[in-house]
């Protein structure tokens, strides 16, 4: 296994870290259809050796374009899909080991600590259940709230996410996208988690509703002390909500820094291009000047060396040959580029 990746996780592992991810790899085999058995014809390098840590009560942003592996990272941390290799820790405890052990109680306990909010609030609610049933579902699974208190607790959660008590007896199809996202958040909060992964929670919502949900997430962080992993392709919302940000490209982290630092002084050419490509809602701002040419290559056969080299404006002969390490350039600003 490659050793040249960020080892910061372990070194800085102190009490302030809630989540630590080390050398995480997830490959998906690609099959061709056979008559009875499938034949493996390739490997998708979805997540390729990434490491990072998330501090308590922090919002950690993960940005990148489609197919860069950000969603896979989230699914792997929650053990919704199994990692190929690597480690992830929650409060110092090995997540993958715990999920592989047969201790059902421990597994459920870990499930309660970490939760996920989805992009699509239309698909992530069971259409045949009332809001009450949806929000009390975690009580059925984890049995941490006695049945006599369900009603009270559901109403409490509804209020917390800005919905009304009478909404409890309705069905999901009666709600708008923003309200459904609130229901999703209420369901997730029902297990009283410490760590929440928000996977593009506002992408499918209308512009005027997005701010509602982003602000709600911020308020909940202050009130309950939640830690977030915020995943999005929308740089503006990442900037808005995150304390630290990691930029992913083709399964690898190419830059990681404090939000302001990253957006004001991006060092990696890809990060720079990404930031410049975002149109700013102000006709006076000058954007989209240095547009990146080409497209994201396939993660089945990623380019050698620095994966960004075929599109990089400053690439040299060295770039396809040698993979740049993710190096701390001061102020905990990590960059993977030979020329940053």
């Amino acid at each position: 296994m490659a050793k040249h990746q960020l080892k910061g996780g372990k070194k800085t592992l102190t009490n302030s870290d809630l989540i630590t991810v080390e050398n995480l790899i997830k490959y998906f085999p690609v099959y061709s259809r056979g008559v009875l058995l499938k034949k493996q014809v390739g490997i998708v390098h979805a997540v390729d050796n990434i490491s990072f840590n998330i501090k308590r009560k922090e919002t950690f942003g993960l940005v990148g374009e489609s197919g860069c592996g950000k969603t896979t990272t989230a699914r792997v941390i929650l053990n919704l899909i199994e990692p190929t290799s690597g480690e992830a820790f929650f409060e110092g405890e090995n997540i993958f080991e715990k999920f592989q052990s047969s201790n059902k109680k421990e597994k459920l306990k870990l499930r309660r600590e970490m939760q996920l909010i989805f992009q699509n609030p239309y698909g992530s609610l069971d259409p045949r259940m009332t809001v009450f049933d949806i929000i009390s579902e975690p009580f059925v699974i984890h049995k941490h709230v006695p049945k006599s208190q369900w009603k009270e607790k559901v109403y409490e959660l509804l209020e917390l996410v800005g919905l009304e008590e009478y909404h409890a007896e309705r069905y999901p199809h009666e709600f708008s996208g923003g309200q459904r996202q609130r229901i999703c958040i209420a369901r997730v909060l029902a297990v009283e988690p410490k760590f929440l992964i928000a996977d593009e929670p506002v992408s499918s919502l209308d512009v005027s509703i997005r701010a509602q949900i982003l602000n709600l997430l911020g308020e909940l962080q202050e009130r309950i002390g939640l830690t977030y992993l915020y995943i999005s392709h929308d740089l503006s919302s990442v900037r808005q909500i995150s304390h630290r940000v990691a930029v992913m490209y083709l399964g690898e982290i190419v830059e990681l820094a404090d939000t302001d630092e990253l957006f004001k002084k991006p060092l990696q050419p890809y990060t720079k291009a990404l930031i410049q490509a975002v149109p700013i809602p102000d006709p006076k701002a000058k954007t989209m000047k240095n547009v990146l040419s080409g497209e994201v290559p396939s993660p089945i056969n990623p380019p050698s060396g620095c994966r960004f080299h075929p599109r990089c404006p400053i690439a040299t002969e060295k770039c396809p040959k040698e993979k740049p390490k993710l190096i701390n350039k001061g102020h905990a600003h990590y960059v993977a580029c030979h020329y940053a």
Partner: protein, 330 residues
């Protein structure tokens, strides 16, 4: 008024669904000057797409254009026969849709799709159509056009598919192009490529462009004038600069304050409530249930679009009493 290529007046398009009549476009008026880039901004259900479909007269069932005038170069399109309209579509007015993978036919290769559009409107010998197809693909920036034109849509990436869709829309050099959220499904870096391409092509083909989007960033980048729609009605029409500097309609103002910006961190202001149901839209001004400036008149009377300063129109009863200054302070 002769410089207006498009003049929409009192357009009403309703959808007659099982649940009731959806007033998707309810009395919308605006115009488009020659060679202008106009932005149609709005959220889902604002009627921006239906407006475009109405101009082309391709409103899907159970939708129907109820009333209004759509003047294209002085002719009312709503009075034309279906046959005349067929000739206009593609050759005079074209549209690019949001999802290129469903707007291209998967069973034909790219050459066939482009050729069909060309042959539908022009009589060109076969050898020349091929030349033209290659030319078009090169114009929209598809490398190795000669080999790639024999490929099928699924062999293209999302960004490339959108380029093909643009090539198809431009095949007959239309004078008016609608771009309906052309980059919503694309990645940021690809989006920038496609937007730049659209800008270049607009100049090259001398087109008027109507950019339909919900993204305030794209609108700021791409347009010179903006029409803001809310729940099937026009809220505000202004030059891009004016609109971003001095939004006069409370909805425009609130929308700008609710959108995060990449170049700075700001406090997001919330617009309370949800997007109204268009079967039973709010009375009077449709924004009043969510508007913090709403008075009683707003509930009762529909505000008319008035010109409050040159080329700045607002449909709001209260615009004079609202002080919006300071909202755009950086």
């Amino acid at each position: 008024m002769t410089e207006n290529i498009l003049n929409i007046e009192g357009l009403k398009t309703y959808f007659f669904t099982e649940a009731g009549i959806v007033k998707a476009v309810d009395d919308i008026s605006f115009n488009l000057k020659k060679n202008e880039s106009l932005g149609l901004v709005g959220e889902s259900g604002s009627g921006k797409t239906v407006t475009a479909l109405s101009v082309l007269r391709i409103v899907p069932k159970p939708g129907k254009i109820i009333d209004g005038k759509v003047e294209f170069n002085g002719d009312d399109l709503l009075e034309k026969t279906e046959k005349e309209m067929q000739k206009m579509r593609g050759s005079e007015i074209a549209i690019i849709f949001q999802d290129p993978s469903s707007s291209l036919n998967p069973v034909y290769n790219v050459e066939t799709q482009l050729r069909d559009v060309i042959l539908a409107h022009q009589t060109v010998p076969k050898a020349e159509t091929r030349k033209k197809v290659i030319e078009l693909l090169e114009v929209v920036g598809i490398p190795e056009a000669e080999t790639r034109m024999r490929e099928y849509p699924h062999q293209f990436s999302g960004g490339m598919k959108q380029r093909v869709a643009i090539a198809r829309a431009l095949a007959c050099e239309p004078t008016l192009l609608f771009a309906d959220e052309p980059t919503t499904n694309l990645d940021v870096t690809i989006q920038a490529q496609v937007l730049n391409l659209l800008n270049d092509l607009k100049k090259k083909f001398n087109m008027s462009l109507v950019m339909i989007t919900h993204d305030m960033g794209i609108i700021a980048e791409m347009t010179t004038r903006i029409v803001v729609l809310y729940a099937g009605r026009v809220c505000e029409i202004a030059k891009t600069h004016d609109l971003f500097e001095r939004p006069r309609h409370p909805y425009t103002e609130a929308l700008l304050a609710a959108v995060p910006r990449l170049d700075m961190k700001k406090t997001l202001r919330i617009i309370p409530g949800n997007i109204p149901n268009l079967i039973e839209p709010p009375s009077g001004c449709r924004f009043h249930p969510r508007c913090k400036h709403a008075k009683n008149t707003c509930k009762e009377k529909i505000p008319v679009l008035e010109e409050i300063e040159p080329e700045h129109f607002v449909a709001c009863h209260e615009w004079q009493n609202i002080s919006l200054k300071g909202e755009r302070k950086h």
